[in-house]
Amino acid sequence: MTRHVSAEALARYREGDLRRRRLSRVRAHLAGCPRCAALDRDLARVTALLASAPAPAMPPQVTDRIQAALAAERALSPASARHTPGQPARAGQPGGGQPQHAGQPQHAGGGGRGWRLAAAWSPLAARGAAVAAAAVVIAAGVYGGIQLTAGGQSAAGHSAAEPAAGIARSPAMSGGPLLHYLAGGKKAGFTPVSTGTNFQPRRLRSQVRSALQQDERLSAEAGSPSTSAPGTTSTQNAAPNASAPGAGSSQSFAGLPVAALQGCVTRIAAGSRVLLVDVGRYQGRPATVIVTAAPGGGSRIWVAGSGCARSDSDLIAQASLPAAG
């Protein structure tokens, strides 16, 4: 009898991926070798097992969320760029210019370049109108905001695509409402900021460090820390509208409903202490960057999308941030 056949060779045999000579050798061996024939059957069952593994169906809210994100994406494009002369609408995006057209995939081979942007909103896109509106407010808040005038305050780590005169900040940045999150059943406070940073995967840590520094400066100006440890927050020092039951949902910060933001921070923090909540953008799309204290020292960066709430983190990215020093 010839040598036994390896599992990989058998798998290649089954896949028709062997040269003719090898194939006939394997076939001949299989005919006379119960051990390899059993292995061959097992391999067949691997495919069958993979095919039979169940998977959850797509939840309807995912469809809504993605359509809303597409609508928000549209809202972030040229219209918002017009309010920001000299600044790209989506800094850091590959080919982030302003194409005049988009290819029509369905008409492949024909009118690919003739596909024009639709001027009107469809009911489909309108389903995401709330999110789109939020995105517009964020863009306007970031770019229409006050520019820090002291050149020396421009934090390191910003690309040329960031506003050249310094770090744009929204008017709400200095007066962001004190909001709350729950950590281990205790109420804790945080003040969201909007540093105007377009966070990028590769520079996330340095960008977050500068955001933390800006947040620190703001806290010093305001005379109180922007976040507080669980259990140390009383309702007396909370912004009245933000903490009053039922009032939170009517408030927003940088276009995000306060209630959703509080829920999002509670969900992401998952009991950890929150160090920073920066409502802005990540790779050009609306996102909230949350920094929490890590159990073993240092901290953790979480980037949540515009769908982040108590029920869904909409997590886009996360990274660790080693303790400075």
Binding site: R14, A57, T63
Partner: protein, 200 residues
């Protein structure tokens, strides 16, 4: 800015079930799958101007979704797993279940998922497309941007590597005949089974 939100929304609606099937089977976690799908659709929307019509839109969209999932897998692999679901899956794989235990399809799903995760992303991707979703080899090759031969060899290597991990599940399971995995139909991206939505 690239695509049209309306047309893109419709394109997404038309293909969402199949795209979701890829994302959920590649990433297992519904939250992760939803994030990847959203990321992929936004990316496709932005890159629509780069679409030259040299491949079917279905293939193009599938490719973007697969790549978004693979990116996510690689990012996840680069940092230690913190999810309890992952740990539970790996624990269950390490401990094994009673041979031939018919009690839970979910156990099978967990084991298959955990076993798949032991493979390199490239092998996972071909097995998700070809074995789990029934795409013909040629279509999987088009989606992944690799040759049919590479798809076949990755399938073979992946299945062989899965063998020891799934030993406890193979007893009594259905078997397919030789060459069952050698699907060669080309053309539109259409799974032989599963998926469920219509063609563009």
């Amino acid at each position: 800015m690239a695509g049209d939100a309306d047309a893109f929304g419709q394109l997404f609606l038309r293909h969402r079930d199949r795209l979701w099937a890829i994302a959920i089977r590649t990433l297992s976690d519904p939250d992760e799958a939803a994030d990847a799908l959203q990321e992929a659709m936004i990316s496709a929307f932005r890159r629509a101007d780069g679409f030259r019509g040299d491949s079917a839109v279905t293939t193009w969209l599938h490719r973007i979704v697969v790549n978004a999932c693979l990116d996510r897998m690689r990012r996840k692999a680069a940092r230690p797993a913190s999810g309890s679901a992952d740990e539970a899956a790996l624990d269950s794989l390490a401990l094994g279940h009673a041979i031939g235990d018919p009690s839970a399809a979910s156990d099978t799903a967990i084991d298959v998922r955990a076993a798949l995760r032991t493979l390199p992303p490239g092998q996972q991707a071909v097995l998700v497309l070809v074995d789990m979703l029934g795409y013909p080899v040629a279509d999987a090759a088009a989606i992944l941007g690799i040759s049919a031969g590479t798809v076949k060899s990755r399938c073979a290597r992946g299945r062989a590597r899965l063998l020891p991990h799934l030993a406890h599940l193979r007893q009594g399971g259905p078997a397919t005949g030789p060459q069952a995995g050698n699907r060669s139909a080309a053309g539109n991206v259409s799974p032989a089974r599963g998926g469920g939505d219509d063609q563009s």
